[in-house]
Subunit: 402 residues, 2 copies
């Protein structure tokens, strides 16, 4: 379980297979984001239909609503979401730093105010680990301290070092939970007597069902990240690792530089997850630099705004040019939006504010990124990633705004 096999490489680009308790994830892979336990506007059947193999859910959001205890009593996150394939939960760190109102970080953890009801909550490394254990995703993430992409060296070092100390605490807590320690005493304000028919004690995860991945911080400072990486690898034997604190405001060339500099230092046997990255051109650039896994809300968020990824670059379906356009959104795509209806119809749905438009463009954009990852896998296995990427950029990038 939690095995990763690199099956082909082409320069730093890799194609592999990640074995998880709920199934196999072929990499490179894009994971759609189910913020509140649902990939916005898409159902489990939709996700299976577009070929999603791994879905991310946000620990922060699920903790504040409906609460991890409710989800545990309803059978855990897989059953709650109706999703029987692999799941990953983030640590809640990123949302605390980006969404919560007032918050205070100290060595113990983060105190923050829920964006839903204003209640004061505390997220410690231990608590983040317990919440994720109750949610029961295949992959849990260690709590990290996220700073803006342009943070100076001192700020970045402070956050990276705290992240390492927190990692150690997360790993210890994960080990005691895996060893069978009960969470009975840790119930938060969400706790309530179980209903008839619900599990009487949280089913939670088991050592065979959940692994914990560390998150590397260090801002745009390569030497900080290199140092943190070394210490991270000393802290435990991991089954994967994440690169956090990138794509958070720093210029793209900086992100590319950091990825390229880190790549030779990353253990080849571990899958590498670049958090929060999800525009097509960024996926291609990151795979080129050895990244295996991605997540981002871009496909669904942009889809709801009428923006669609296509082989010829992005387009916005609200554009009046599409009013009577009988063509499919993207002729190379096999999703329902592209096979059942025309651009003219999709534009009508947006102009008429119909819910179906939000869903069809979300569905298409997720399908687009999953197909893009599949194309990259094929190109890597053919040892032709470089020429594939050149061709892909030639077609996707120069497109005039549409």
């Amino acid at each position: 379980m939690f095995e990763f096999i690199v099956e082909a490489t082409c320069g730093p680009a890799r194609s592999g297979r990640l074995e998880l308790p709920h199934g196999t994830v072929e990499t490179p892979a894009f994971m759609p984001v189910g913020t509140q336990g649902t990939v916005r506007a898409l159902s489990p059947n939709d996700l299976r239909g577009v070929g999603a193999t791994l879905v991310l859910a946000n620990t922060y959001h699920l903790h504040v609503r409906p609460g991890e205890q409710v989800i545990a009593r309803l059978g855990g996150l897989h059953r709650f979401m109706g999703w029987d394939r692999p799941l990953l939960t983030d640590s809640g760190g990123f949302q605390v730093f980006s969404l919560a109102g007032t918050r205070r970080v100290d060595e113990a953890g983060v105190e923050f105010q829920s964006h839903v009801d204003g209640s004061r909550r505390t997220l410690t490394p231990e608590r983040a680990t317990e919440i994720q254990w109750l949610l029961g995703a295949d992959i849990a993430m260690a709590l990290d301290h996220v700073v803006p992409g342009e943070a100076d060296r001192a700020t970045a070092r402070d956050a990276a070092e705290r992240t390492l100390r927190w990692l150690d605490r997360c790993a210890q807590r994960h080990r005691t939970l895996a060893a069978g320690e009960s969470l009975a005493g840790s119930n938060g304000p969400d706790d309530a007597p179980a209903l008839p028919g619900a599990a009487t004690s949280p089913p939670a995860a088991s050592p065979a069902l959940q692994t914990l991945w560390p998150i590397l911080q260090g801002g745009a400072h390569v030497e900080l990240r290199t140092e943190a990486l070394g210490r991270m690898l000393e802290l435990g034997t991991w089954t994967g690792l994440a690169l956090g604190g990138l794509a958070v405001g720093e210029p793209k060339p900086v992100m590319h530089e950091v990825l390229a500099a880190l790549e030779p230092r990353l253990p080849p046997a571990l899958p590498r997850y670049l958090m929060g990255v999800g525009f097509p051109e960024d996926l291609v650039a990151a795979v080129e630099r050895g990244v295996d896994l991605f997540d981002c809300v871009a496909p669904t968020r942009h889809g709801r705004n009428g923006s669609a990824f296509t082989a010829d670059g992005p387009l916005n379906i609200r554009n009046a040019d599409y009013r009577e356009d009988p063509q499919p959104l993207d002729a190379s795509c096999d999703c329902e939006a592209c096979t059942a209806v025309s651009r003219g119809y999709l534009r009508h749905l947006f102009v008429a504010k119909e819910l179906l438009g939000l869903r069809l463009l979300s569905l298409h954009n997720v399908r687009y990124l999953i197909r893009l990852a599949a194309e990259m896998r094929t190109a890597i296995r053919r040892h032709a990633f470089g020429s594939w990427a050149d061709d892909w950029r030639r077609r996707y990038l120069p497109a005039r705004p549409r």
Copy 2:
């Protein structure tokens, strides 16, 4: 084409088969409403998945946006919506009377103000027929003058008689269109040069592809309706007929009385479509009184409000009782909402304002009515409709509000 075969009866209740250009509709049947060319929140695949065989689209809405010319140039309504099964368009009459701002009815037709852009438009019997011809649904409806359910006899007689005169004009226009008269000169303000790839002339319908059904008016006055029915049947040879102006404010017993009184007078060979009726108990009561076809926005509108039809009566999923309820929404249902997730999860989607909740409850409610119609077909074929209806009511109706 447009053949209706009654296959079984049980008292006034009938089960039959309506053959239409785009497929067969087994009756009794419920048709979901695609107001703006989309059944709100549901895709063509969803509709196929829940077993919809006939979908209604609103002529008024499609006329004001995007315009019938746009739809015709995009290949007609079937292709526009991505729906290859039978379609019915209403005449626009009901929406003009219920939605439009200021409106003026005279013998020529209705002048009204678009609810979208405030523009002044005129709907005559000829124009309503032309618009529907361009849309190209299997069944078009004649323009009718709708009055409130409690209209007095004089008002109801005036509207019923105008509806008959308009029917004659609709039928004449439909005949000239079916005989091949071009609509080239009738382009409205929506007209624009066709794009490359679009049909250069509207594909429109053909006599083999569209039939026109009359609508019977007369309010709650049985003798008015009886008289109007006789004159309607003299005006042409129809392939079906609709009962309009019911379920528009009159008490339910009044509607039941009108249906029961009319039933023996309706030609048995014509399918009978009761417009705008769509609550489960109303479907059962109307099938009991010889009705074959129904449409209503209730399943999708109520679904979006969190209200679900179930075998044990309606429930509202927002209710706090469902917070940790692991049961399916309706254990007897086979839709995605009922098979993939729990009531607890569906409630979470509504509380968290997630789009998926709107869709899953809409999907379920439409599936519920389609399954209800299928159950009624089976009961009629077994000549056991009465006892089936008793059993159904015993379970569905007394339910306490949930």
